[in-house]
Subunit: 189 residues, 2 copies
Amino acid sequence: MSTDKLGLLKKFFKKNRRLPSYSEMLKIFGFSSKNAVFKLINKWVEANLLTKNDGKLAPTSHFFALPLLGTIKAGYPILAEENRNYLTLDDYLIEDPTSAFLLKVSGDSLTGVGIFEGDIVVIEKKKQATIGDIVLAQIDHEWTLKIFRKNRSSRISYLQAANPKYPDFYPKASLEIFGVVKAVVRKFN
Amino acid sequence: MSTDKLGLLKKFFKKNRRLPSYSEMLKIFGFSSKNAVFKLINKWVEANLLTKNDGKLAPTSHFFALPLLGTIKAGYPILAEENRNYLTLDDYLIEDPTSAFLLKVSGDSLTGVGIFEGDIVVIEKKKQATIGDIVLAQIDHEWTLKIFRKNRSSRISYLQAANPKYPDFYPKASLEIFGVVKAVVRKFN
DNA sequence: CTTGACAGTGAACAAATGTTTACTATAATG
DNA sequence: CATTATAGTAAACATTTGTTCACTGTCAAG
């Protein structure tokens, strides 16, 4: 394992949400010449773990990201190292961080689409939805998370659960959409 | 909405994975005095969106994190602003980034536990699993993602699908565990 | 033994950094 | 009206930044 300098750097970044300056790295890595740092950094830039733009150092996506392996097709081994992708969950799931928020799900009305009690959904604030979207809405002034539908003949908007034990929800007075579910996330244990 | 300077900063960070220097912010924000930047930054530090340690600017967790609203209990409004939590999906889902990787799921063998084709699972590398864990394993040299079980009487380890259409998988020769699924993630559209 | 490649030291330096101070214009308040 | 806060300009500055150059010791290969 050696004294894993890259690990130390990652630890610093995780803690401080920024890269250390060369002088700080001196201490972190235990060097006594900035040039030692300089050479080490350049090696990491070479390896595409860090980049320099405008002379400023920044991590690349490889620096954080997790390797995304291909699918397992029954019996075949996982894709080889070469065609690996790297992925950050935040980047993958959240397109517009300014309009997104999270919501902890309760109830079993969406089990049919694989959304269970305790899951966390990523919601993008918007007033309009496409038919079939899972929406955060206020139906007759009650908040709920359901599938957005439109009656084929009457063109009336309604909400539908993804669980046969619930009926369709037609608004008596009002139906207002506040956001659309873009992703679900579930943690085990 | 005004010309949302904080949004511009976030955009820069998202693109470059670092904060801009004050001189860079001059251009980004359209100021012509560094002092204007200075004052603005200090306001954000005050608001706990940024921090300074050792005179170096860094984002706080609030800077990225999304507000996590409480559960919707039928009919009740969403929790008020005060008791909001803030959450980063990466932090929430990935405990040990060094031993974790992602895997795109194919097949329908885990639909019963809400894992579908196209979902991405977070796997933590480890050789041992607890009964009931969803594991990445090699059974008779074939890779698969299944639930780890042990026969009550015989104490023999086997794999189980979460889909009634599949039988239990008892290893003929070998069963080796490579990792345990810690989380699932699904993106809509 | 010689050579060359590494890995690190130490010093020097131009350029850029964040901060401070003094000042101006605008708008809001009483 | 006078006052006070707010948002910005402009210039000056010590400190720190990343980089470069010259040098040393170590180790492996021919």
